[in-house]
Symmetry: C2
Subunit: 220 residues, 2 copies
DNA sequence: GTACAATATGACCTGTCGGTCACATGACCA
DNA sequence: TGGTCATGTGACCGACAGGTCATATTGTAC
């Protein structure tokens, strides 16, 4: 948690610092991110930085919290079109709104996801909490889909969660990488072409998940 | 390329150095790997290290080349069971042999794949050549599968390659992470349970890829 | 033996890191 | 005005990085 001193700061100054930190982590990842550069780019002294944050991990966790909050707000605003969706339909909706979010906050998404997906594997304990949130949600979704008869009940839940997790991360990384090359990333994400690409990727997963085990297990 | 001095070394000494380097990159990734630790763990002086290699990147590229060669040898030895396989059957065979290889050389695989998949995204140009080899192979496979009528010809090749790439990397990471926890990794990989898990993961992809577009595109 | 080249060594270079601390500045209150 | 307390500062700390280089050791040929 940042110290009180940081929270007392004027909104504008806080934003400047957060922006500099986001840029730094997005560009260098956690290990190689430099506090010297962050303070230089945000125009504060190093002493001040350590009056605001405990240490490097403290800033980074703060960024993760900011991102998590903004993301939740974002999803709250965009309620799903209707309440009685197929689980996979709901999943597709989730992913697409997620991509909208990513393109609205591309650098922040990049900063956090880079560290979480990549270095996160090796900083396990520090980030486990954040990754757990996602996998829990996926696990609940798969179980619900089974109850509804949309997925074969013999499906290995842990495995399905891994598939969903891998898939969303891959799509997210793809959209972010390609999107960063575009002039107007939001426009690009919303374009029919990009949406179709996302759909196709999701259908590969969906079609594979819906029937896989019951169809193929016997073949082995 | 390592310098001649390194190649003149006794096999045993060379191995000691390579092992220390592999352990270092596997444990810390490229950026954070320390040459000081490598020389300490291999019992040579720092001066010697720089008589053997140009710089840090030089050792790492050497490791990648060693791995690539060993992998090719490994695949050559294990020719596929019969010549007239379905493309997906062949793909499954490839992946399984790949997992055998990974479990035979776990630390080296970990060292290289960690850097290639993770930091590789940000060191683009340095590693592009190694990643390209894989994507080219996948691209050829998909095109062949189309010719044979195993995949709908309307499938987006680039997208299918991305799917195959993501999938093999995800499976590989999963197997390696889980496998490292086992006492006997080779035995664990060969066990029926693990093989079944690999099969299921591959079937998700295969089933999704075989029919996806023709089935779903119209729905959009 | 001696001469000469190949190899080995570790102290040392410059640079950067995350983090600390004695001190300066400024705001508010008596 | 002087006192006090929150905020701001940057020189400085020890650790470690990748890389260099003068010197010492070793191997070989005569």
């Amino acid at each position: 948690m940042p110290k009180q001193t940081f929270l007392n700061l004027l909104e504008e100054k806080r934003q400047t610092i957060v922006n500099a930190a986001v840029d730094e982590f997005a560009a260098y990842g956690y290990e190689s991110a430099s506090i010297n550069r962050i303070v230089a780019n945000s125009g504060i002294s190093k002493g001040s930085f350590y009056q605001y944050f405990e240490d490097k991990m403290d800033v980074f966790k703060y960024l993760m919290d900011v991102l998590a909050n903004e993301k939740m707000e974002f999803f709250k605003e965009k309620r799903p079109p209707n309440g009685n969706m197929d689980t996979f339909e709901y999943f597709r909706w989730l992913v697409k709104i997620g991509m909208e979010f990513n393109s609205a906050y591309p650098r922040m998404t990049q900063a956090v996801s880079r560290v979480l997906l990549v270095e996160g594997l090796y900083y396990g304990k520090d980030f486990a909490k954040y990754r757990q949130m996602t996998t829990d949600a996926f696990s609940a979704m798969i179980k619900q889909a089974m109850k509804r008869g949309e997925v074969d009940p013999s499906v290995d839940v842990e495995l399905a969660v891994m598939v969903m997790d891998t898939w969303t991360n891959a799509i997210s990384a793809y959209i972010l990488n390609e999107g960063m090359k575009q002039k107007d990333i939001i426009r690009w994400v919303r374009s029919a072409k990009t949406q179709e690409k996302i759909d196709k990727l999701l259908y590969v997963m969906e079609y594979g998940l819906r029937k896989t085990e019951s169809q193929f297990v016997s073949k082995t």
